[in-house]
């Protein structure tokens, strides 16, 4: 079947989609957007969290057909989305030829000579920058899902208590950090948000 939807602000269509394919599979394998992660594919770990018409969902539990005509934001589009939060259309993000990891890209991976703020100047959303600054990224596999969930929390609640943060992120498993630095990151992003208001 064919599925038409908007991903990170750009209209997309996916052809030859199997009935049983998940939105996660279509994003990762057909759209070239591997940012949403495939850690359990059972809706238990939150690594594949995306916004579906603004609502955070586990994209592994959404059948691709359910995304027909809807708007999706993945971690790849998070910076644009945050930037255009007030606007009607969330940025222009990546398209099918955009942000995937081709083998050539993967082969060329090098950690560039920087202090963690990537060599290329790239605009990050406040929550993305806070995760880097607070040391909340270790292996990083849980990070995309946590970022999407945390960004939505901060959109709803600009000064969440620790209990609020824990509740909002309780659907996202992390195996490396012990969560303390993830809490730090969300607190940091919230504090920076307050400073700029």
């Amino acid at each position: 079947m064919r599925v038409n939807f908007t991903v990170n602000g750009r209209p997309q269509e996916a052809d030859d989609v199997w009935e049983g394919e998940s939105l996660l599979y279509v994003l990762r394998e057909r759209m070239g957007l591997p940012g949403s992660k495939n850690a359990c594919e059972q809706g238990e770990c939150g690594s594949c969290t995306v916004r579906l018409d603004g609502v955070p969902v586990c994209s592994c539990l959404v059948a691709a057909g359910q995304a027909e005509g809807r708007e999706i934001v993945t971690v790849e589009g998070l910076a644009d989305y945050a930037k255009h939060r007030e606007g009607a259309h969330p940025g222009t993000g990546c398209g099918s030829s955009g942000c995937g990891t081709s083998l050539d890209d993967a082969k060329r991976w090098q950690s560039k000579p920087t202090d963690g703020r990537s060599g290329e100047t790239r605009e990050l959303s406040p929550i993305q920058q806070a995760f880097i600054d607070a040391g909340a990224v270790q292996c990083g596999f849980c990070t995309p899902g946590l970022l999407v969930a945390a960004d939505e929390l901060l959109e709803q609640n600009d000064s969440p208590s620790d209990a609020d943060i824990r509740e909002a992120l309780s659907g996202n498993l992390c195996r490396c950090t012990g969560y303390e630095k993830i809490l730090d990151a969300v607190r940091l992003a919230a504090a920076r948000q307050e400073e700029t208001v």
């Binding site: 199997w18 995937g100 081709s102 790239r122 990083g140 659907g171 195996r175 012990g178």
Partner: protein, 794 residues
């Protein structure tokens, strides 16, 4: 040539930023937060196929026949391979003993063992085709514990077993056995006023890294294969993969792709050989990505253990002796079991002074899931038992449990039960003092808050199961001792290549190692080390691959010590070479070139007095200095197989925990309120990463204390809970605040004085939580994880 450094041209000395000791940020951080970091499951290649593994549904059976015809005839299927299709006589692999079949032949020995592999144009096609493979099994009795493994009529899991351990084990179903005997425990027991013994059970824990086993194999024109994969040790994989494929090692080129956590679970091979076989057979790139269900079968777990301990103590609280027997269940294949046995035995006494010990550790072959490496590696199970014993002894003596531990704590110079002296700081008593002296978290808030109490802070949390009635609080302590690095005479080394050159008018260093970055932050500290040693700001970390010498494994808390040490050592050699070039070119301009100790700082050559002699740009010009060197730690020896004596370990690390828990005694629910930790790290190369590792390790210990266990049916040896629905790891709601105290007592034998840190916090976290639950409830609790029924006696 622009010359600086004449005696009249003294410049301001500028420190290089981002060196060791600073909390430099991860170089891969931006890619990881934008979703662009290439994990192994993200690899993509035009025209690529998907591989799938068919696994046994039974734990022990003879395979009478396998019929793949229907699977092979499925539209979209390119290849179906079984044991008969393996290209060489080498059909097994293994870390220490080559007993693990690439694909089952003749027999399956555990539930989930790979039997056949399929390549198809869609993952679902591959799965459906695999379901059409017909296998005829003849069930065999299952061996699931020591009694069934070593009983008089026990079937042999590996018939015709032939390896170097066999002479030292009492039964072929025992993988390895290591006694450690020192002094005379029986004689010393006569001096004891109180003797305390206990039996303990440690459940099977899973690494549960989030990034599933995955990778992409691409067939090459020269008949070889390029493999992009998440692993902990590229060269160890290569050594096991190439012979099975029948290829020389230089035709199997491996590149590390992004690793989503490891914790020991990627030491053994998973999909590597399968993907290569399918790629070579079909001539197309093949990607394999395990789903979570498969992941539980795709890697080895932490050994479950049964431990019997006996300690004696005098009236004034001094330990007299210790006897113990540790039985580890290694499952169907050896994996790292021999080394886990060595660790459990040699560290069984913990960080205490006990001169007379009688220790025996064994690992069994059974039909349970194979077990091998996991964070803490044998020391974790022992720590759970000896720390429970310490609390029991203190209670019998009516002593404070921390004071009792401090009274018996080892220190620098103490002889371990292996006869090895601990020749670096051993701040056991101090670490306990640090966690004990922290202020306790506020008292039970609902007692005063009444209706306004936040139920999220109570056991049961959001489920709103209590408002505080029946909730009791407890506090518990534990401390642990872990070795760092590979022990028992293993020739452990790492290799680093460091290159320095001028690019766009700036000195730039490149580091190339085969170190697996699994999330621990090695790529960050390598850049910090090079900045410190070579005084350049710009450091590029080359992707890890097999085009450079082995870095050894990212395990055993060894990588910062070993590959960090190799990078330091190679960078120092590069510095010498740079200074040599400088002397030859510019030496006549300043006498300090010949006489002073020279350093590289801020892109310049400076004297130890801070005088600038030259810019690196002028020293190097078009020249590049490029060196690749191996680096070794001081040698160790194998433990004597009868007495366990020998200087078997490289270094030790220590951590202590204090746990505060609240228990709903009516429902049996536990809420860990705080888990404070103190650890000696020798030298914190990157304090932010150090704290992250300590908190992460602590949380894995918390998990095994209260929720994590792979449940294996004792009658069928089938795994009951291979999913994140049923195998629970701590969420952010289960994990408390984890305050960390870091000590930096340098180990003079280690690079920068550092101490491996990754594993130690996992040891003492579990027994501290158990001690706190015992303290809260008064129950004995001798097994982990603690389940509600243990707390409510239902």
């Amino acid at each position: 040539m622009g010359v600086t450094g004449s005696p009249t041209n003294i410049q301001q000395r500028s420190k290089t930023k981002g060196g060791i000791g600073e909390s430099t940020l991860r170089p891969d951080g931006t890619l990881k937060v934008t979703g662009e970091f290439a994990y192994s499951s993200d690899m993509w290649h035009e025209d690529m196929l998907w591989g799938f593994t068919l696994r046994s549904t039974t734990a022990h059976a003879e395979i009478k026949s396998i019929d793949v015809s229907e699977a092979l005839a499925t539209s979209g299927v390119y290849s179906v391979l079984t044991y008969d299709d393996l290209p060489t006589e080498m059909k097994n692999y293994g870390l220490e003993i080559q007993d693990t079949p690439v694909l089952a032949h003749g027999k399956v020995r555990h539930h989930g063992e790979p039997v056949a592999i399929v390549a198809a144009d869609h993952p679902e096609t591959a799965r459906r085709a695999a379901a059409k493979i017909k296998i005829e099994y003849v069930e065999l009795p299952v061996i699931t514990d020591e009694a069934s493994a070593t009983g008089p009529d026990a079937l042999l899991i590996h018939e015709g077993r032939d390896d170097h351990h066999i002479g030292h084990v009492p039964h072929p179903n025992i993988v390895h056995r290591q006694p450690v005997i020192r002094g005379d425990a029986d004689e010393a027991a006569k001096r004891a006023d109180i003797i305390v013994s206990g039996d303990y059970v440690f459940g099977m824990q899973d690494q549960a890294f989030l990034g599933p086993e995955s990778g992409l194999a691409v067939p090459a024109e020269d008949g070889g294969v390029d493999l992009y994969v998440a692993t902990q040790w590229l060269h160890s994989d290569l050594r096991q993969i190439a012979p099975v494929l029948g290829l020389p090692e230089d035709k199997v080129r491996m590149t590390l792709s992004g690793v989503g956590g490891a914790f020991g679970g990627r030491e053994d091979l998973s999909m590597q050989i399968h993907a290569c076989l399918l790629a070579l057979r079909t001539g197309k790139p093949v990607k394999i990505v395990y789903n979570r269900f498969e992941s539980f079968f795709g890697h080895v777990h932490r050994h479950p253990a049964k431990l019997h301990y006996e300690h004696g103590v005098t009236k004034d609280g001094k330990l007299t002796h210790m006897k113990c027997r540790i039985v580890l269940d290694g499952g169907a294949y050896a994996s790292a079991s021999p080394a886990v046995v060595g660790n459990a035995a040699s560290l069984a006494v913990g960080p205490y002074v006990i001169e007379d010990v009688d220790i025996e550790a064994v690992a069994l072959y059974t039909n349970n899931p194979p077990c091998g490496a996991m964070r803490g590696f044998g020391a974790v199970q022992a720590c759970f038992a000896y720390e429970a014993q310490m609390d029991k002894l203190a209670a019998k003596l009516d002593m404070d449990p921390v004071e009792f531990r401090q009274l018996n704590a080892m220190e620098q110079g103490t002889l371990l039960p292996t006869g090895q002296a601990c020749d670096s700081p051993a701040p056991v008593a101090e670490l306990l003092r640090l966690v004990k002296s922290r202020p306790l978290p506020p008292e039970q808030q609902w007692l005063s808050a009444g209706e306004d109490a936040d139920v999220r802070a109570l056991p049961g949390g959001l489920s709103n199961t209590t408002h505080g009635e029946g909730v009791v609080r407890g506090v518990g302590y534990a401390v642990g001792l872990k070795n760092v690095g590979f022990s028992e005479g293993f020739d452990d080394y790492s290799t680093a290549r460091v290159r320095m050159e001028i690019i766009n008018g700036e000195p730039v260093a490149t580091v190339h190692t085969a170190m697996a970055e699994v999330g621990q932050g090695g790529v960050t500290v390598h850049a910090q080390i090079v900045r410190t040693e070579l005084g350049v700001n710009q450091v590029t970390i080359h992707p890890a691959d097999t085009q450079v010498g082995s870095a050894g494994s990212t395990s055993a808390s060894r990588q910062t010590y070993m590959t960090g040490g190799a990078v330091k050592n190679t960078a120092e050699a590069v510095r010498e070479k740079v200074l040599e070039i400088g002397r030859a070119k510019l030496g006549t301009y300043h006498p300090a070139w010949a006489t002073a100790e020279l350093l590289l700082e801020g892109g310049k050559v400076v004297t130890d007095g801070g005088e600038v002699l030259a810019d690196l740009v002028d020293v190097l010009e078009d020249e590049a200095v490029d060196l690749e060197l191996e680096w070794r730690h001081r040698p160790t020896v194998a433990f004597d197989l009868v007495t366990g004596q020998g200087d078997g370990h490289v270094q030790y690390s220590f951590a202590a925990h204090r746990a505060v828990v609240e228990v709903d005694t009516e429902l049996g629910l536990v809420k860990v309120i705080e888990l404070a930790v103190a650890q000696d790290v020798g030298k914190a190369l990157n304090p932010l990463s150090v704290v992250g590792q300590i908190q992460g390790g602590t949380t894995q210990g918390l998990g095994v204390a209260v929720m994590e266990e792979i449940i294996v049916d004792p009658k069928t040896a089938r795994v009951r809970n291979p999913s994140f629905t049923d195998y629970l790891i701590p969420t952010i709601l289960d994990t408390p605040t984890i305050p960390v105290d870091v000590l930096e007592l340098a180990d003079e034998h280690a690079p920068y004085g550092l101490r491996g840190i990754g594993e130690a916090p996992t040891l003492s976290s579990t027994p501290a939580v158990l001690a706190a639950i015992r303290n809260a409830t008064g129950l004995e609790l001798n097994r982990t994880p603690v389940r509600p029924e243990h707390l409510t006696a239902t």
